[in-house]
Amino acid sequence: MSTVPAPLEDPEQLARFNARIAAGDQLEAGEWLPQQYRFEALRLIQMHANSEIMGALPEREWIPRAPSLARKMALTAKVQDEVGHGMLLYRVAETLGRPREEMYAELVEGRARFHNVFHYPAETWADVAIIQVFVDGAAMQTQGALRSCSYAPYSRVLKRICYEEDFHIQLGLDVWRALAEGTPAQRAMLQDALNRWWTPIIHFFGMPDKVSPHTETMLAWRLKVKSNEELRQQFLRRFVPVILEYGLVVPDPGLRWVEAEQQYAYTEPDWEELKRVGRNGGPKSAERLALRQSFYRQHAWIREALGHRSAAAA
């Protein structure tokens, strides 16, 4: 009749752990971690890894159609970096206890999550500019903040990721500039792409944080460093001027700088859309997962052939 209680953490060990983090310390792979910390860190990092892998899909559609040899090489290099980030991040997640193969299979079977922005179509060449400047720019805000997170392997990988993302934004601005200063058709293509991507980018930072025990824990454990709203405002401060500088229109007519609050006011987006997309219900979710599944199955015999070799070598 009595239920077995869920295993509780040793209160002394937990207290020491919390004290270390409060003192600004970082955890390395292999150290003792509270189960909840391990769960939250893994969820965060796994979603990040998944997002890099899924994020490759919208942009890679434009590699075959890149309109110059230089753009073709640069876009290939950029998507290569994203795939490389996925590699680095899955390894970090692996140190928290899940094999990479398991996480990857979960992703392609549609049972895992990835960031909302990668569920949307890249309809034109100009979408490449928007993704490289604004989507990567948005990701830079969260990634930059988390460089001071409490899990050292993640913190180190984020420093490398931020270093590379900086190059992406520079290249993105070059494509942006070519289009913004180009023909009327190019400018129109760019504005149209910006209009379509605006809401998903605002969504990216998540709803303004609820005051909740969960949020408090994430902040105390430094798995969350800045609030969603802080990061969204940081993004707007950096990137709204870029839009205005080139004489393009901010897609939200309600966006304005509020001097007294030293922040932007903006039209509240539809948060239901974000929830739907987060459950893999976005415009391109099914198609992209199907593409990943198709290649994953196609490559199954290769994994087996190479696994056979490593088993023989062991």
Binding site: A66, A77, A178, L291
Partner: protein, 260 residues
């Protein structure tokens, strides 16, 4: 006139040399375009990243050779890459084939790298600068491409059974097209007579086969007895080129005068 061609006084020799450079550039562009399609969907994440680097280098090599051909002509390398119809391409048709499975792409890369490494050696000895100097530096990137192909080929083909059968099927499909690397036109004899190329196409093919045979047979693969599927060096291409060309030129073609 581009520097690479300017020092050749005989117009027939100059045209033949230009055609040779165009084959190199078109080969690298077509295989680079096809390899670029593996970005993000390779069999494992690390190999995906490595293949991407190979892709970028192939495209970079293409650009270098288009630059040598185009010289100061307006439009530069992009006009050569994007502005010609498929019938003007001089690549071997093996390289324009759709990727197929990873095994086909690896077999193709192995066959191509042996050919390309040898061709760069011939270019390095052609006596025409700056092409000769360029060709001798590219060899170190090609070396990695060859290692990548050989390492992957061995691991896919050595386990007997289903894996090897698939790789064999890929080799059976690729081999006839690979013989097209050595298809000749009037240009080849002109270049030999002018002393720019030191080896006939037939001798080049023998050398190439001497390199790939041990690699393939060492993996337990059998070289098919098949006739060459020719046409690429004469601008006679398979549907693969029209398909990739249409995709490649879609955005550029929407406004060739625009800066992208």
């Amino acid at each position: 006139m581009p520097a690479a061609l300017a020092t050749i006084t005989d117009p027939a020799v100059r045209a033949a040399f230009r055609e040779w450079l165009l084959r190199v550039a078109d080969d690298e562009l077509t295989i680079g375009h096809r390899h670029a399609e593996w970005t993000g969907v390779g069999p494992d994440i690390e190999s995906d990243v490595a293949m991407s680097s190979i892709t970028q280098e192939e495209l970079g090599h293409a650009r270098l050779f288009y630059e040598q051909i185009a010289g100061d002509e307006p439009g530069g390398p992009d006009l050569l890459a994007f502005g010609r119809p498929p019938a003007e391409f001089r690549n071997a048709v093996l390289l324009e084939q759709p990727n197929g499975g990873w095994e086909f792409s690896i077999v193709r890369l192995a066959l191509y790298e042996a050919f390309e490494g040898h061709r760069l050696g011939l270019l390095a000895r052609c006596g025409q600068e700056p092409v000769a100097a360029i060709a001798s530096t590219l060899g170190r990137e090609e070396r990695y491409h060859g290692l990548f192909a050989a390492t992957w080929l061995e691991r896919m083909a050595r386990p007997s059974g289903d894996a090897r059968a698939r790789v064999q099927a890929a080799l059976d499909a690729a081999w006839p097209y690979a013989l097209g690397f050595f298809e000749t036109t009037e240009a080849d004899q002109i270049l030999i007579n002018a002393g720019l190329v030191g080896k006939s196409a037939e001798r080049q093919r023998e050398t190439w086969e001497g390199m790939v045979r041990p690699l393939l047979e060492g993996c337990g693969l059998a070289i098919p007895a098949a006739a060459a599927a020719l046409g690429g060096r004469r601008g006679l291409h398979t549907p693969g080129l029209a398909q990739m060309h249409a995709e490649m030129t879609e955005v550029w073609g929407s406004d060739p005068e625009a800066r992208w």
